[in-house]
């Protein structure tokens, strides 16, 4: 998602970025579909069963990409928000606001799939282990960002306030993660530690393909939402009127 338009300044204005994003979105949808089908087929059809966890482990093909995306999108959101705060680029603040709902959705999906994975493995829907708990807190951070931006009417102030919250949140994520981990180390360690991958390579490819699919999906959906925000905020300008044929 951190693609940087090549002519940075030419596309920094919403007016120039709107049509460009419009052209790119179908491509990202196509990529998301291709990676999705590939990842799922590897994960669900080709990959062998796991020794102890049987077939239930296949949930990681959904759980891990979702967790990755929820974490990654928060970092990207904080990046765009910080840029918007520092340089007053309205476009990057809009991008941050566009990313937040998708990030929140991935955080919720990560919790949902984590719970459904935990039930057969550990016998309980919700287990207070370090990663699930910090995922829950990450969801709260997302909801806080969205609620703050919704509560402030003036778009510029909403952007800047949201940016500060996102930056403070980013600084706190490692602290929260390690304090939760310190508090409870029930979780079986990170399931994808590239150094000693305890999984067959096919599983690894399956997961990476699913992650790419989620990433393409996130780019496409946030570009669409960014375009919607642009229309909403720039509705008094002439280029929006021309865009709508007036």
């Amino acid at each position: 998602m951190s693609h940087r338009p090549f002519h940075w300044y030419r596309y920094a204005s919403p007016q120039a970025f709107y049509p460009l994003a419009g052209r790119m979105i179908p491509w990202f949808w196509a990529l998301a579909a291709i990676f999705g089908v590939a990842g799922l087929s590897v994960g669900f059809l080709i990959a062998p069963g796991d020794a102890q966890q049987g077939e239930g482990y296949r949930i990681i093909f959904l759980h891990v990409p979702a967790s990755w995306m929820s974490m990654f999108l928060y970092l990207v959101m904080a990046f765009w928000a910080g840029l918007g705060l520092a340089f007053r680029f309205r476009l990057s603040s809009m991008m941050a606001s566009a990313l937040a709902p998708t990030g929140a959705m991935f955080a919720f999906l990560s919790l949902w799939t984590g719970a459904l994975w935990g039930k057969p493995m550990w016998g309980a829907w919700w287990v207070w282990d370090a990663r699930l708990t910090s995922e829950l807190i990450l969801l709260f951070l997302y909801l806080g960002f969205i609620a703050l931006q919704a509560a402030i009417d003036d778009p510029r102030r909403a952007d800047q306030a949201g940016a500060i919250l996102a930056l403070v949140g980013v600084v706190n994520i490692p602290i929260i993660y390690f304090s939760v981990k310190w508090w409870n180390t029930l979780h079986q360690g990170s399931s994808l530690n590239l150094a000693r991958s305890s999984m067959a390579t096919t599983m690894l490819y399956g997961m990476l393909l699913c992650a790419l699919a989620c990433w393409m999906y996130a780019i496409a959906i946030s570009l669409m939402r960014a375009r919607r925000i642009m229309l909403e905020r720039e509705k008094d300008t002439l280029w929006v009127r021309k865009e709508l044929g007036f």
């Binding site: 807190i137 806080g144 703050l148 509560a151 403070v168 706190n172 929260i176 939760v180």
Partner: protein, 219 residues
């Protein structure tokens, strides 16, 4: 100059003792409700005491946060503070310190009394009060960011809790962990030192984003 701001806030707080008392009564009431809900068995109460006392302290601080900037914002004195020849971050630092003296310290002083309700041993009570004493500045510092962000926003009071409680979790974990360790008789130094680290970070780093948020609110 910082002392002037602290003295100002303390004098204002003393003039409005009712707000002060309300926060402390809230803390007492919330803590006393738990035994009614959970049941009188001393063993179980002793087990949940650290968590209950710390969560109640958290909520009490949260309750008094909007007061940090809202009154000054409404009557225009916040503008004058922003225009004082003092970095806004230091002004916020002074206000956080004043808020801690007014709200955090009474909580720490009062907590051993309430610990008795939960049958905590003498040593645990000392650790409880000490942990609260160390932890509450971080609550005030991080809370200042939430108060500044939601200044003049409708529904700000509720919003502060949504923004700030996730950021409070490390302080809660180490604070309650310290008291829990004391109850079980194991070493508390690790917990308290981490808590102190959080407090230092909270008190010295939090005022700067809070100042930035104030500047935005004053626009």
């Amino acid at each position: 100059m910082i002392l002037a701001v602290i003295a100002r806030d303390l004098r204002l707080a003393l003039r409005r003792r009712a707000d002060l008392a309300a926060v402390l009564f809230f803390f007492v009431i919330v803590v006393s409700l738990f035994p009614l809900g959970v049941g009188p068995e001393p063993e179980r109460l002793r087990e949940i005491a650290p968590g209950v006392l710390w969560v109640a302290a958290l909520l009490a601080t949260l309750l008094s946060l909007p007061r940090l900037f809202a009154d000054d914002f409404r009557d225009g004195t916040l503008e004058q503070l922003a225009l004082a020849p003092l970095p806004l971050g230091l002004t916020v630092f002074a206000k956080v310190l004043a808020h801690w003296l007014v709200c955090g310290v009474p909580l720490a002083v009062l907590s051993p009394l309430l610990g008795l309700q939960f049958g905590l041993s003498g040593e645990a009570l000392v650790v409880l009060s000490g942990a609260l004493f160390i932890g509450t500045p971080a609550l005030s510092g991080i809370g200042a960011i939430g108060a500044a962000l939601t200044l003049g926003v409708r529904g700000g009071g509720v919003l502060v809790s949504l923004l700030i409680l996730p950021l409070y979790t490390p302080v809660l974990i180490f604070g309650a962990g310290a008291v829990d360790a004391a109850v079980n008789g194991i070493g508390v130094e690790a917990h308290l030192s981490l808590l102190a680290a959080l407090t230092l970070a909270g008190v010295f780093f939090a005022p700067w984003p809070a100042a930035a948020a104030l500047r935005i609110a004053l626009e």
